[in-house]
């Protein structure tokens, strides 16, 4: 089924309301990707949900990416949203820094964001301000680092039977 919305319509609509907050717009594989200010992400997601002409009211996933060389914007938070009624998908991105990895929680908009934000916190250490229970969800509670950050080795450091020369360590 073809979507009732087009990328042009949606980006025009977002620009007319949040023109200042938009940093970059991309369309990889025809998938509209809007990079916005981290401070505005809560407001934009809330508006997308309530705006009847868009009705982008389903949160598919929240994730993060670590770009250690992108100084000041080390973490990209990626929000995948969908409109069930319009058969339309949208990707929102926001950057936060390593010094202050904070973003407003969207649990008050989507209850389903609760575990997604906990997972993102678990692996990247992103602080979701306003989350009701921001604790580790998948890793053991005693873990003292955020394993998906690039500065940590993927491999278990305590393993003894591997020769580093053959395993790229």
């Amino acid at each position: 089924m073809k979507s009732k919305l087009s990328n042009e319509m949606v980006i025009e609509e977002i620009k007319s309301h949040f023109g200042d907050a938009i940093r970059n717009v991309e369309e990889p594989y025809g998938f509209l990707t809007v990079e916005v200010d981290a401070a505005k992400i809560h407001e934009i997601i809330s508006w997308l949900k309530s705006e009847p002409s868009l009705a982008i009211s389903f949160l598919t996933n929240i994730g993060a990416v670590h770009y250690p060389d992108n100084k000041g914007n080390e973490f990209a938070l990626v929000y995948h949203l969908q409109s069930m009624t319009n058969n339309y998908r949208l990707r929102l991105k926001a950057h936060v820094s390593l010094e202050q990895p904070e973003i407003k929680s969207i649990v008050d908009i989507y209850s389903g964001a609760n575990w997604m934000e906990r997972e993102t916190f678990d692996f990247y250490g992103i602080q979701f301000v306003g989350h009701p229970n921001l604790t580790r969800i998948l890793n053991e509670d005693s873990m003292d680092y955020y394993p998906m950050r690039k500065e940590f080795h993927l491999e278990d450091a305590t393993r003894e039977d591997k020769d580093d020369r053959f395993f790229g360590r």
């Binding site: 998948l138 890793n139 053991e140 993927l154 491999e155 278990d156 393993r159």
Partner: protein, 181 residues
């Protein structure tokens, strides 16, 4: 196999003489109750081992004990994540002496291919292991071979070993409380 070949019995009128160690070992040997702790593909191979083709029941092991308190042999088959490690240790601690542990497959023995931050690099980091079965996953024949190695240990288990200082210091290494005499 299974029986103690050199179990000597002297029969007399109204009495029977034998060596207690060996009588007890014979009884244990033919009724090792396993507790399967299966988490992944090794668990499937283990199930095949239990099934009628390979038939672990012929060793007196038909009764799977899903309560650690009534189990003699802990069969750890599969990847153990670090989050699961304290649970595995708790299961081991709840088992009554004498107890044996068999580590089935590469993951349980060494972490296997999962050389990663979330996986325990071998269960011998949290509990003592008696027999390691290599393979990814091992065939049922290999698992049976491992169990026969356990039988060999059961057969020669002295009655007092579990109270020995060596055994206690082994458990202490794993922060597990040993038996009180």
């Amino acid at each position: 196999m299974g029986k103690i070949e050199d179990l000597q019995v002297i029969n007399g009128e109204g009495y029977q003489l034998s060596v207690l160690d060996k009588v007890v070992a014979t009884a244990r040997l033919n009724s090792v109750w396993p507790l399967p702790f299966a988490t992944s593909c090794c668990g499937i191979e283990y199930m095949a081992t239990m099934g009628s083709n390979y038939d672990l029941a012929r060793f007196g092991m038909e009764r799977m004990s899903f309560s650690p308190r009534q189990a003699d042999l802990l069969i750890v088959a599969g990847t153990i994540s670090k989050k699961l490690a304290p649970i595995l240790k708790q299961v081991y601690e709840q088992m009554a002496e004498p107890k044996w542990v068999i580590s089935v497959g590469a993951c349980a023995s060494s972490g296997g291919i999962f050389d990663t931050y979330s996986v325990l690099q071998g269960i011998d980091r949290v509990i003592p292991v008696d027999v390691y079965v290599p393979g990814c996953p091992p065939r049922p024949e290999q698992i049976i071979d491992g169990i026969m190695k356990i039988h060999e240990m059961v057969k020669h288990e002295p009655m007092r070993r579990r109270y020995s200082d060596e055994y206690k210091s082994l458990l202490n290494k794993y922060d597990i409380e040993g038996n009180e005499e």
